[in-house]
Every structure is written in structure tokens, then in C-alpha cells.
């Protein structure tokens, strides 16, 4: 490619170089729309429905609000605040704390496996919604793993790939149209539920299937499920935030989108499940609004999954481009998108059972994401005092102070292992086995806090002695500049 043919703004949007404030396309409302479009999908209804299993609606609403606000804030402090300030790609920024190879490892753990899984799960949600729709309007016998559901799921992934292949501008248009319509439909659903059952009646309903006799444990499991939902945005939200105009517009829309819009969807799912005894939106939507509204709502909700898929796929591909340096950077954007979608399509076609493990999958992700958030906050806010040296971030690996040990920062990786282990010791997502500590402070909070403390403490004690990371001195408060030549490529 000749240099004069390169649109560097477009390359930055789709690659790892820092976006300049003048190039960033999203204002407050545009990022709020993107955020809401990301948040509202069938998963919100299903998380609400799962909450109804553990607690009644009153406690459920409290668990949804408490869990989501804590998870969302901790995830966004670790990602949106730095990426919104410097316009850096999230996994390039992560080199400052994990090293270049460590950042790749985190990308593989937190994005490759999880995003491929999420794309398949959301595709199946779309497929099942279409299957349900078809059952409503015709004599079609619905089958969750039947040909129509799987073909529709595959179609959703293909549609997602087409929109993402066109880049962030098409994503912006898609979000701006779909997000307000989804919020409106949620409001109508809530209105209809409240029209059939009084608020007091709903609040008095019991849990559908509380697993423990101890009310406090059931409540904390409900909080934990919702906190996991809040933390689950960690791998994606930084690369969306860097497209917003400044740090403030990178932060506050999260409160509207992945907190409030997601919480609204979850509350609708919770109330519907509690009132109708079924957490499957394809069933309760027709019970609430009748056939016509059910068909319209289900159609919108089916496409809501696609907006979520679009946003997570875009952020994953941007991160993927920094994973293997020049080779992937030189591959065309569209080809990368297509290649990334192959595995999710195979999962939809040959392993649709992944859908049924949705909640266990979600809560397991929190064991990783909560620790990552804790390390990110400790590193960016407390060790680096909100100042990054971009020259260090983009220097060639051999010269960069972020090379740590062979490209890995053993301190951050140890902190990640500690955070993950603490989570599983306090609360096992597979069996729901838990300790007394869990019933007071959940599992995500101690995991996040301890991972952050381990990273902070070991960095203070070891990193400066070993010459790792170019951290500012704890007393001087200045960053060390090594006058590196940033003309070198990252990941060469």
C-alpha cells in the first residue's frame, strides 16, 4: 500500500495508535446510544430471570442496582478513564501493566475465548427469538436447537460481520436507530407488567427457586450474578470509550447505557419471570402484550442481540490487530472480521448447548474480570497517578520499559492469579458453594481488591529495584522519561 493511500485516521480507528481528540466520533449521546445498544439484549432479560430464581422482586431490584453499579464503575475506571484520556487501544494500554506479551495473554483469555463464546450465545439468542416468533405467527413447532434457530443464529453472526466490516461509522448509525427503540420497548413492557399486577403485588412475590435457606446468601448470589454482568463489560468498553470525544464523554454514558439501560432490561426480565414463572422472553412477551405486541417486541429483542454482537466484535477486532503486530495489522479489516466469526458460527451449528450454560459462563468471567479491574485501577490511578508515557507504550519491545520479563510482568500476572483464586475460594460459580465472607461482601469485591493490593504492593517493593515499568517514584510524583524513539512499531 502506498503511503499516500493510507487514511491514518481510519487506521487509528481500526488499529492500535492513539486516536486524537479531533478524530473521535462519539459525543455524549452517541456513546450513550452505543452503550445502551450494547447493554440491551436477551442477556439482560435472562440475567433478570436468573435473579428471580434466587430472590423475590424487591430484593431482586436491589441486587440488580447494587451489583451493576459496582461492577460497571470498577470496570470503567480501569478501562474507559485511561482510554478516554489518551485514545489508546485498550490492550495496547494494558502493556503498561502486563507487558506486551502479558497483554497478548490477557487478550487471549479475556477476549478471544470469551468473545467467541458470547457471539455464539448471542447468535443463539437471536436464533431462538426468531424461532419463537415463527411459532407465534404460524403453525411452526418451535425447537430451541432446530434448523430454523441455528440458521437464524448463523445469519445473526453474518449480519454482525457485515456491519462491523464497514467500520465504526455504520455501527454508530445502527446504534442511533436501534438503541432508543429498545429503551422505548422496555418501558412499554414494564408498563404492561405493571398494568396486569400492582407494584405491591409484585414486590410481595417470593423467589422462584431459592437454593439456600439463608436469605442473606441468596441475596448475595443475586448481587454477585449482577456484579458479574457489570464486570463482563471490561474486555469491550475501553475500545468503545476511546472513540468518544473526551474523558468525561468516555465515562458518564456508561452510567446511562451499561448500568441504567442494562438494569432496566434486567428489572423487566425479573418482574416478568416472577409474575409469570418463566424467564424465557420468547414465552413471557406474548403473555404480557398479546400476539401483536409479542411479535413486535420479540423482533426488536432479536435484533437487540445483533447490536450487542456488533459492538463486542468491533472492539475485539481492534484489540486483535495489536496481538501479532505487523502481520495482523497488514491483513484487511474485513478478512479479520470474517476469520474471527468462523469459530462462533461453528459453535452455533455444532455446539448450541453453550446457551444453556449461560449463567455459569457469565459468573466465571467475573473471576477474571474483577481481578483485571483491580489491577488496572491500582496501576493507572495509584501507581502511575493517571499519567501514561505513550512513547514507552509504543516503543519497540526490546527498548520499552514495559518489556518487564520477556514481555510479561510477573507481578501483574501473579496478582491476576491471586484475584482469580480468591474469587473461587470465596464463591464457586459451578456449585454455588460459598464461605461466610461471601454473604457479606460477595466474591468479586475481594477478588478485585486483593488483586489490586498485590499488584500495588509488589510493584512498590520489586518493580523499581528491577527497573521494570518506569513507574514514578512514590515520593517524587514524576514519571521517568527515557526519551525512547516511538518511530518503532509496536509489536515488531
Amino acid at each position: 500500500m502506498a503511503s499516500h493511500d493510507v487514511d491514518h485516521g481510519l487506521e487509528a480507528e481500526r488499529g492500535d495508535t492513539p486516536l486524537l481528540p479531533s478524530e473521535r466520533m462519539w459525543g455524549f449521546w452517541e456513546f450513550s446510544y452505543a452503550n445502551s445498544a450494547l447493554a440491551i439484549a436477551t442477556w439482560a432479560f435472562l440475567i433478570g430471570g436468573a435473579t428471580a430464581l434466587f430472590v423475590g422482586p424487591r430484593e431482586g431490584i436491589a441486587a440488580i442496582v447494587i451489583g451493576n453499579i459496582l461492577g460497571v464503575l470498577l470496570a470503567t475506571f480501569a478501562t474507559c478513564v485511561p482510554c478516554g484520556k489518551y485514545g489508546t487501544e485498550q490492550f495496547t494500554f494494558l502493556r503498561s501493566m502486563f507487558g506486551s506479551n502479558g497483554s497478548r495473554l490477557v487478550y487471549v483469555l479475556a477476549v478471544v475465548f470469551l468473545t467467541m463464546g458470547w457471539l455464539a450465545v448471542l447468535g443463539l439468542m437471536f436464533g431462538r427469538s426468531i424461532d419463537g416468533l415463527s411459532g407465534l405467527v404460524s403453525a411452526h413447532q418451535t425447537d430451541a436447537n432446530g434448523g430454523l434457530a441455528l440458521a437464524s443464529g448463523t445469519f445473526a453472526i453474518v449480519l454482525t460481520a457485515i456491519v462491523v466490516a464497514k467500520g465504526p461509522t455504520s455501527i454508530k448509525v445502527f446504534n442511533t436507530v436501534v438503541a432508543p427503540a429498545l429503551v422505548l420497548i422496555m418501558g412499554v413492557m414494564l408498563y404492561m407488567i405493571l398494568g396486569k399486577h400492582s407494584f405491591a403485588e409484585l414486590m410481595a412475590l417470593p423467589a422462584l427457586d431459592a437454593p439456600f435457606d439463608d436469605k442473606r446468601v441468596n441475596f448475595m448470589i443475586a448481587v454477585e450474578v449482577n456484579m458479574a454482568a457489570g464486570f463482563s463489560w471490561w474486555p469491550y468498553i475501553g475500545n468503545l470509550a476511546r472513540l468518544s470525544k473526551n474523558q468525561r464523554t468516555a465515562f458518564w454514558p456508561n452510567v446511562i447505557g451499561i448500568f441504567a439501560a442494562a438494569a432496566l432490561g434486567e428489572v423487566v426480565g425479573l418482574l416478568a419471570a416472577a409474575a409469570l414463572g418463566n424467564s424465557d422472553p420468547t414465552i413471557w412477551m406474548t403473555h404480557i402484550g398479546g400476539l401483536v405486541f409479542g411479535v413486535i417486541a420479540l423482533g426488536f429483542v432479536a435484533f437487540a442481540n445483533v447490536t450487542s454482537m456488533i459492538n463486542i466484535l468491533y472492539t475485539s477486532i481492534v484489540g486483535l490487530r495489536q496481538l501479532a503486530g505487523r502481520k495482523l495489522r497488514e491483513m484487511s479489516w474485513s478478512l479479520l472480521v470474517v476469520l474471527f466469526c468462523v469459530v462462533p458460527v461453528l459453535i452455533v451449528c455444532f455446539a448450541p448447548g453453550i446457551y444453556d450454560g449461560f449463567f455459569i459462563f457469565l459468573v466465571w468471567t467475573s473471576a477474571l474480570n474483577s481481578a483485571l479491574a483491580g489491577i488496572g485501577i491500582a496501576d493507572y490511578f495509584f501507581l502511575r497517578r493517571q499519567r501514561l508515557n505513550l512513547r514507552h507504550l509504543y516503543a519497540a519491545e526490546a527498548q520499552s520499559p514495559y518489556r518487564y520479563w520477556k514481555g510479561f510482568n510477573p507481578i501483574a500476572l501473579s496478582a491476576l492469579v491471586v484475584g482469580f483464586a480468591v474469587y473461587v475460594l470465596v464463591f464457586n460459580p459451578q456449585t454455588l458453594a460459598n464461605t461466610t465472607l461471601f454473604s457479606f461482601i460477595s466474591a468479586s469485591l475481594p477478588s478485585c481488591l486483593l488483586a489490586g493490593l498485590v499488584h500495588y504492593g509488589l510493584t512498590r517493593v520489586l518493580a523499581q529495584r528491577l527497573g521494570w515499568g518506569a513507574y514514578p517514584n512514590s515520593d517524587a510524583g514524576t514519571i521517568r522519561t527515557l526519551d525512547l524513539d516511538a518511530r518503532s512499531y509496536s509489536n515488531d
Binding site: 431490584i61 453499579i69 473526551n246 509504543y394 518511530r487
Partner: protein, 57 residues
């Protein structure tokens, strides 16, 4: 550097880094989160967590 495209990219990266270094030097960050934002975030979180805990549990 082994191609014209890489050289152009390196120049572009240098230009981008300089923009941020200038902002850092001038300490000028339009739209940066301020102390007021952090106080508002803390208060909002406290009100939501404590308020909903007392109401719901």
C-alpha cells in the same frame, strides 16, 4: 523500517504522540474528569448502594 507504508505509519504515530505530549506539558485536557466528577460518582454510588440495600433487603 522496511516499507514506505511502515515509514508513513511511524511518522503518523510520532505526530499523534507529540499531540498528547504537548497536552501533557501544558496540562490541558479538555473534558477531563475533575474532582467534582469523582465526588458525584462517589455520592451516586453510595446513594444507590445504601439506598437500595435498605429498601430491598
Amino acid at each position: 523500517m522496511n516499507s514506505q507504508a511502515e515509514h508513513a505509519r511511524a511518522q503518523d504515530l510520532e505526530r499523534r504522540i507529540r499531540v498528547y505530549e504537548d497536552m501533557e506539558k501544558e496540562d490541558e485536557w479538555p473534558g477531563a474528569l475533575s474532582a467534582t466528577d469523582y465526588v458525584a460518582i462517589t455520592l451516586m454510588t453510595l446513594v444507590l448502594v445504601v439506598g437500595f440495600y435498605l429498601w430491598g433487603y
